[in-house]
Amino acid sequence: MARKVMTGNSATAYGALVSGVEVVSAYPITPQTTIVEKVAEFVADGSFKGQYITVESEHSALASCISASQTGCRTFTATSSQGLLLMHEMVHWAANTRSPVGLVNINRAVGPPWSIWADHTDAIAQRDTGCLMTFVESAQEILDMVIQGYKLAEDPEVLLPFMINADAFFLSHTFEPVDVPDAKKVQEWLGMYDPPYPLDPEDPHGYGALTFPHQYYMELRYNIKRAHERAELMFPKVSKEFAKLFGRDHGGLVEEYKTKDAEVAFVAMGTMVSTAREVVDRMRDEGHKVGLVKVRSFRPFPVKELRDIAQRIPVLGVADRCFTYGAEGPLSTEVKAAIYNVKDKPTVKNYIVGVGGRDIHVGVLKNIFLDMEKVKEKGLDKESVWVQLKRPPGEPPEVM
């Protein structure tokens, strides 16, 4: 194991390298570009011995990875924002062909107007593809989750692509010390990817051919649902196995922080969780009974875990770094749906924060925690509020 100071993007590239990826195909897009540049460096210095396919678009990047994956290669690509949106059709294709392609998405706002900063809209738009989706908060977690992603995705009963989501700049371009595990040890743990129906000229099959309504379409979709159930079961197990071998445990589908006696808990994904952890510590010192729930896996969604949390904590404040127009923040919708049938369910309030990369600093989160305590005392005032919004004079902020 080697400890190096590196950006989240470098950690991503190292994650792919030590996982023994055989085919990388990607197209540059800010702020993901330095991932594929790092992979190109690995090609140049001889440490990456696989195929590096340069393509003309993200659509082709993922298409190349899917085809390579079908031959039995471990494949990797990385993208961001508009690139992921262009890739969208192929994200469906990867899941529907049950190809365990590894994908790192650097969460970036969607234009217009152009914005290259952190926002979860790009990822949430992939919600219904069937892809496994994880949100992370550190460069180390990206690297570790790329490795664990392959372990999970290549499980013979899972066989789905995975997407690690990491916030633009807060992770992609920020340096931190990262442990790079020994490649041999990682690859021994992962084993070889062995597809059940490899693309093989010696043994030809039709891949993704037409199916009629009375035939198999519905059943194939049902099997993707089952694969997600399997992934839900395996996710914490893979995490534990990884912890045993490499000494780091980032938690299961959710990570709870100081929730044992918490009266209010902040539920969030991505880098704002790190800030929230700091805020929880500070507020605990001042006597507030506050806690934090980090949703690590967005797909499969941690329904069981959240139901358990819902039975213990009376107020949940769910934060979203994006918005579903005509509704509310997507994580909030998911959390509410997950806990709807719980008896004595908590009050849920949705906070829209950090849209387009606006900095979610300690003060912002502290105000949210105080607002959640107000909800506990006086009941729910509003379902979903936009925090940090510049409002016309005379209009009071929704969170003081």
């Binding site: 529907n96 062909t97 059940p196 039709g206 993704g208 198999y216 194939l220 099997n223 089952r226």
Partner: protein, 119 residues
């Protein structure tokens, strides 16, 4: 692909979701099952006496329905050609004509076309 892996797959007789392979895989090649040539309303006909064997049509055919004859001339596989007309559009000699399906065109036999022998 090992033999026992092929045997384990069964013959593709699927009744429920539990029998299906994980992905949308046909147990054998779909070649010969789905003759897409029946979709055609117009068909490409190559005037071989003008053809220069450049194989532009072969390269552009999106359905891999243009084959190369032993003598190097292109040959349309009418079992699969859907009549999209891309070959006709791309042919630099403009010698691929799109003919209504109802018009019967006799195919030129294999071997050097008449003009080549004469020339």
């Amino acid at each position: 692909m090992s033999k026992d892996k092929t045997e384990k797959r069964g013959k593709g007789e699927w009744k429920t979701y539990a029998d299906l392979p994980p992905g949308p895989i046909s147990m054998k090649s779909t070649l010969g099952v789905s003759l897409t040539g029946t979709w055609r309303t117009v068909k490409p006909v190559i005037k071989l006496d003008e053809c220069i064997k450049c194989m532009t049509c072969w390269k552009f055919c999106p359905d891999v329905s243009i084959e190369v004859r032993k003598d190097g001339y292109p040959k349309i596989n009418y079992l699969y050609c859907k009549g999209c007309g891309i070959c006709s559009n791309e042919c630099p000699k403009e010698c691929i004509e799109m003919v209504l399906e109802e018009v019967v065109v006799e195919e030129e036999p294999e071997g050097e076309p008449v003009h080549a022998k004469e020339g």
